[in-house]
């Protein structure tokens, strides 16, 4: 970065800019030269985005499949979001649904019919046109994927017909009200691929035969090694909430699979990668001390919570379930979780559109918890564990998540005489045990930027984590949310539902899940979309590329 070299490279740039960027200016081209800012301070805060460079992201695990229509994991969806666009976009700040590939839409009052008016001139990366037919064939393909489309199929539940009166218009009709569908159209799980891609088998698509309309094209995918994306130069249809027009700033994105946390951390600190996808909480301070950025956004949807089963020998007692809610000191959990994570303040995370603060219902009340148990006949035994009719108040929880805060929860519950036995196992073992359905308690979360996640998770005819036998008031309220588009009404209903979930002890909210990401000093405008996955269209790198 000598000024000699750079003045030779970019004779038209201002001296300050030349000195700072050197050869990068050559690569950056005219866009950069058009907007030079004067002060060094402004460079950091409001610098003009610079074109060029490859953003190097270190992942902790291999995405076994890159097709976002099939997979629901963060590692997959972060890639999918860059290669394919959606009909709509959801503003991560205001949570509003905004135009993207659809310029506008009409929804019938009963929320059964959705008509989208598509943007003109959108193309797939293989040069074919994106039209209403593309929308139809993609959504039909998702239905054909069945259970393999883990998220998409729930979004399209009850879809009766897709009509395409002309190239720019597509109409969806559902057999019952489906208010959540509009938000679903903003997710990459309902993103679009070209006809050629759809003609391929599900397995072929997994290995990376994916052509979308997005700002980046998939170049290669080698398992356990790397995923390489390159800029799609003809891209000209960013979402209405994007900050610039035309192609993306980055030349490309390279995701490397780096399983060792200390290696990811060292690589980020030594500048070998630009982004560490999964920062360990003990490394956060080092990164911040070195001036590196930490990015995090709570995953919207259902927070990390305990879900007691009403069929359980112990958890069938409402008093026990309620005592669990009262017996956890969520403020104290702050001492063991990352500074970028937060204790739960409702069943829904703060980043969910229909979130409302219910922390009053989640206040720590050990005396209240003890009284509930006492009145219900659970008497303290010799070892401090309560007993009723010879049954100790003891439940085993198997989980696989990286959730060390559960150990503190265990101590807290011990105070009220509840013995929570923790067994950390592999995902495979936990999934299998949950499928058998013998547990009294499960632990988990579910990400989605829409309150409908409550219906999905707790609804009696949906996943029904509590194994409730018949529909209750809760289900009536949740059913109502699908038939209205009025966000105020939906929020009020989801809050009512969350209150019931807490009151009945159907959900014991603990902590909001949020991935903590480390970014290099050279990374700018690293963004999250509404469901807390990466949106890298506006992202740019400064310095020499």
């Amino acid at each position: 970065m000598t000024s000699f070299a750079s003045s030779a490279a970019a004779p038209t740039a201002s001296p300050r800019r030349r000195a700072r960027f050197g050869f990068a200016v050559l690569a950056a081209g005219s866009l950069l030269l058009a907007g030079c800012s004067g002060s060094a301070a402004a460079e950091d805060e409001n610098a003009e985005p610079q074109d060029g460079g490859t953003l190097k992201i270190a992942y902790d695990v291999d995405p076994t499949c890159l097709d976002g229509q099939q997979q629901g994991t963060n590692v997959t969806l972060n890639v999918t979001r860059q290669i394919t666009d959606s009909l709509t976009d959801q503003d991560p700040e205001t949570q509003e649904i905004k135009p993207w590939l659809a310029e506008s839409w009409d929804v019938s009052e009963d929320a059964k019919t959705f008509t989208f008016h598509l943007r003109d001139g959108v193309k797939f990366q293989d040069g074919t046109d994106f039209t209403s037919a593309s929308v139809k064939e993609n959504f039909e393909a998702i239905q054909d994927l069945g259970a393999k489309a883990s998220l998409g199929q729930t979004y399209l539940d009850g879809l009766k017909s897709i009509k395409t009166p002309d190239k720019q218009t597509v109409t969806f009709t559902f057999d019952k009200s489906n208010a959540q569908f509009l938000q679903a159209t903003s997710t990459m799980s309902l993103g679009f691929y070209s006809s050629d891609t759809l003609a391929k088998s599900a397995e072929e698509r997994c290995t990376g035969d994916l052509v979308g309309t997005g700002p980046f094209q998939l170049k290669s995918f080698e398992h356990n090694k790397a995923i390489k994306l390159a800029r799609f130069d003809d891209y000209d249809w960013p979402s209405s909430i994007a900050e610039h027009e035309g192609p993306a700033h980055l030349d490309g994105i390279e995701f490397s699979i780096v399983p060792e946390a200390s290696v990811r951390n060292g690589s980020l600190l030594s500048g070998q990668v630009d982004v560490d996808f999964s920062v360990q909480s003990q490394d956060e301070k080092t990164l911040e001390a070195q001036g590196l950025g930490i990015a995090s956004r709570p995953n919207p949807g259902v927070v990390y919570n305990l879900v007691p089963k009403v069929t359980g020998k112990i958890t069938k007692d409402k008093a026990v379930r309620q005592a669990l809610v009262k017996g956890i000191d969520r403020d104290q959990l702050k001492s063991v979780i990352s500074a970028h994570q937060a204790p739960a303040t409702s069943v829904l995370a703060k980043s969910t559109p229909e979130y409302e603060d219910l922390s009053d219902l989640l206040a720590y009340d050990p005396d209240g918890a003890k009284k509930l148990l006492e009145d219900d006949g659970w008497k303290v035994g010799d070892d401090g564990i309560r007993v009723k009719d010879g049954t100790p108040l003891s439940v085993t929880l198997t989980y696989w998540q990286d959730a060390s805060f559960l150990e503190l929860v265990q101590q807290q519950l011990r105070e009220i005489g509840f013995d929570l036995k923790l067994e950390k196992k592999t995902t495979a073992e936990v999934t299998a045990q949950q499928a058998e359905g013998k547990e009294e308690l499960t632990f988990g979360n579910l990400t989605r930027a829409d309150g409908d996640v409550l219906r999905n998770y707790f609804g009696v005819s949906e996943q029904n984590g509590n194994e409730r036998k018949k529909a209750e008031e809760l289900d009536k309220i949740l059913a109502r949310t699908t038939s209205t588009l009025d966000e105020k009404e939906r929020t009020a209903d989801f809050t009512k539902a969350a209150k019931i979930l807490i009151d009945e002890g159907y959900s014991v909210p603990i902590v909001e899940l949020s991935g903590v990401i480390g970014t290099g000093e050279n990374v700018h405008d690293f963004k999250y979309e509404a469901s807390s996955r990466f949106q890298l269209y506006d992202t740019w790198l400064d310095g020499e590329q």
Partner: protein, 339 residues
């Protein structure tokens, strides 16, 4: 070496393959968990899993059959050289192994080459030196080399030669420089095994009468060692081929994970955690086949290198007492010594 000998060795090899396959099959079967639910329960977040779809997928992978049928189907498929597809990725198992193999082969070959050089240098120097402290130090090195956890060595090397002094990249398999640190890490335990076996053999050879004879006729110690003792002493080290290969493969699981390298070890690790039965089986069979092959080659080439064994096979009485071959006779006794 007769055809009959070869046939019996091949039969032994097939037996080893069959046992490896059977053991891994039942071990995987008895692991708790179900690969299909694991696959569909993407990322572990609670999802809607359609039971009908689960059943369809289970049928696709023959998981709905009774255990003996599943086993027979698996054996018949392998006999037809059909190794199936990975449950996790849907890619053919042979393809997954083939794409991971070159990276591991390059790593193992480089590590073995390095280990051979380092091992020989340590053993030769320790034998030749007249300074007891140097000999003792060098003789202690192999023990240390085996004892150091590969995982820790890898992280230390990265810390120093990648993060502090940016000589080698920490991530990425692309550049030639990226293989240096992993190869060094993997070479350390391998060189320790070679050095240990070689040092013991050399020490044995060094006390043989022919050494005195040759020294008396004016051979320098170095020349004598390199020309006469080393070729003899290398034989027992050569028989370690199988052990070295096993060590290299086991080491690659750790090394490939620390250094984020693609390869068989990494593939095996992800396959086991994901309970990807066809993929694990494929890798087990492949590793066992190579192991059998390495041992077979070692056994077949051994007589070529050792004139005494060659002679014995021909069933002719011929012993040349004045050559190093006689020393090999005694060195054989030390073969039992393993690192």
């Amino acid at each position: 070496m007769s055809l009959r000998y070869l046939a019996s060795r091949l039969a032994q090899g097939l037996l080893v393959l069959w046992i490896a396959f059977t053991l891994s099959f039942f071990l995987l079967y008895w692991l708790p968990g179900d690969p299909v639910t694991t696959m569909l329960g993407a990322g572990g977040e609670l999802q809607n899993i359609d039971p009908a779809e689960v059943e369809r997928l289970r049928a696709e992978f023959n998981l709905d059959q009774p255990l003996p049928i599943q086993y027979l189907l698996a054996v018949f498929a392998v006999v037809r050289l059909d190794f199936g597809t990975s449950i996790q990725t849907g890619a053919p198992v042979t393809e997954a192994i083939a794409s991971a193999l070159p990276s591991t082969l390059a790593l193992a070959a480089l590590a073995l080459g390095l280990a051979l050089i380092v091992g020989v240098v340590i053993a030769v120097t320790a034998t030749l030196t007249r300074r007891p402290w140097l000999r003792d130090t060098l003789a202690a090195l192999p023990g240390l080399g085996v004892a150091l956890p590969t995982f820790w060595v890898g992280l230390m090397l990265l810390q120093v030669f990648s993060f502090r002094i940016p000589l080698f990249p920490a991530v990425g398999t692309g550049t030639p420089a990226a293989i240096v640190l992993p190869a060094v890490t993997l070479a350390i335990p391998l060189s320790a095994i070679i050095a240990q076996v070689l040092f013991r053999s050399l020490q044995n050879a060094w006390i043989q009468p022919f050494v005195t004879t040759f020294t008396a006729s004016g051979y320098t110690r170095l020349r004598l060692l390199l020309r006469q003792a080393l070729p003899v002493a290398l034989l027992p080290a050569l028989t370690m081929g199988g052990v070295l290969f096993g060590q290299a493969l086991a080491g690659s699981v750790v090394v490939e994970n620390v250094f984020s390298r693609q390869g068989l070890g990494r593939l095996a690790q992800t396959a086991v955690t994901g309970q990807d039965i066809p993929l694990v089986q494929g890798i087990v069979l492949f590793a066992a086949a190579v192991f059998v092959l390495v041992n077979l080659i070692t056994d077949l080439t051994y007589p070529l290198l050792d004139p005494r064994l060659r002679a014995a096979r021909r069933k002719t009485e011929s012993t040349d007492a004045s050559t190093p071959a006689e020393a090999a006779d005694r060195i054989e006794e030390t073969e039992g010594v393993r690192a």
